[in-house]
Symmetry: C2
Subunit: 247 residues, 2 copies
């Protein structure tokens, strides 16, 4: 079960988490303070359920550290991974625009710290404060860009290119070659995140190795040349590396 | 080239188009009237380009009749069909939340009539009128639901189930069986819309025929039993027929 860590932390810590998020950028201090007072820092362990699809949305969340999986469950019991989010990203806030229920479930992929904030306060705030409504529009617009890119990638990139794209998103253009990366979570979850079965993932990773000379040992990946990787993966995409749609 | 039909139509026609759209539902008459005065009805022929990816967004659009394709182009010249929209749906409005440029291209799939409205007017309106900002939030939230469902479908449904899902979205639960449908646009575009190559589409359609006893002759489809079709397609989805996320 999560414990509330907020009592151990000063509110200034919560405030600084809030103002780094697009939803609170440029918002008046009184409003930010109201959310900071109501916010609760909580820690979760790997596998903890944060909420289920169709749950009433009492809270929305900003990730302080760790990874969170958003998913939907099908009639026949399979799971579609809709997104995997990390520090600085928010989730659950769009329920206030729908019927007040979460449109997907959320679980902790690993140890995760979250700042949870009351959904009714956000709903009231966007009705009364136009700057909050505009900030929320920008947040939703970012979500939409991520999703558009995701649809494009699922439509046009092959499995190897999708893995390459995933790895490139962990890189920045100023990294020294050969680039050494640690996979952020385990391979079976990466496969699910990319919409692949585990067998497909393994085959596609082998093909990516052949095409780009990367090395994969456990969760460590070495990319000898960024340009080789980006020309392989980005050719089937409308973005060039470095991507401008990472939020 | 498109011609402006607005002069042949009274503004009341434009007003009634506007108030049926979620963006203008519940908005004060003065604001609606301002958009109605600025709106232009335009007709386009099949294949006409409405705008290209990265174009400055001068206008946003509400579809009066016909079908519009939104797409992105990859580095290697392929096209990802992001969405295909029809009467009552809008597009291009989210550019005002980004950098003022369209994040995808748009073309007329067939003869189409559009109501185009000035993007700067919308941008100003959401800043000054909180109800407009809230209405825009709801519009974006609808887009997001469509896209989430699309990602889920691309991830978990097989090609035959995706075609079945596409057909089910043309049905309502009160239709008498056998249901006779006309495909809304040609099969190659349906294939692209569903993220499939033409060969995959043909094979998957044959499999769907075997599984559900549908008949396909040219653009006419006969579905003998809705329940057989929905249990085949919806088992790999988190929605049940009839879908609640059709906007």
């Amino acid at each position: 079960m999560p414990y509330t860590a907020a009592m151990q932390q000063g509110r200034p810590g919560v405030t600084s988490l809030l103002v780094r998020h697009a939803l609170f950028a440029g918002i008046d201090a009184a409003t930010v303070d109201q959310f900071a007072q109501a916010g609760q820092l909580q820690d979760y362990s790997k596998g903890d359920t944060l909420f289920l699809q169709d749950d009433d949305a009492e809270w929305f969340y900003i990730i302080v550290s760790g990874w969170v999986k958003l998913f939907r469950e099908t009639m026949d019991g399979h799971e579609a991974v809709i997104d995997i989010l990390t520090s600085g990203q928010s989730f659950g806030e769009t329920a206030i625009l729908e019927d007040g229920r979460h449109s997907c479930g959320a679980t902790a992929v690993e140890k995760v710290q979250l700042l949870r904030l009351p959904a009714p306060m956000l709903k009231r705030s966007i009705s009364e404060n136009n700057r909050m409504a505009l900030a929320m529009l920008h947040t939703l617009s970012q979500h939409r860009r991520r999703q558009t890119r995701e649809i494009e990638s699922l439509t046009l990139q092959n499995a190897s290119q999708r893995i390459g794209c995933f790895l490139l998103r962990l890189c920045t253009i100023d990294m020294a070659e050969p680039i050494e990366l640690k996979l952020p979570y385990d391979k079976s979850l990466i496969a699910a995140r990319l919409g692949m079965k585990s067998e497909t993932f393994s085959r596609a990773l082998n093909k990516l190795r052949d095409e780009t000379d990367i090395k994969v040992e456990g969760s460590l990946v070495t990319i000898p040349r960024l340009e080789v990787m980006s020309s392989f993966s980005c050719s089937a995409c409308s973005n060039e590396f470095p991507c401008d749609d990472i939020s």
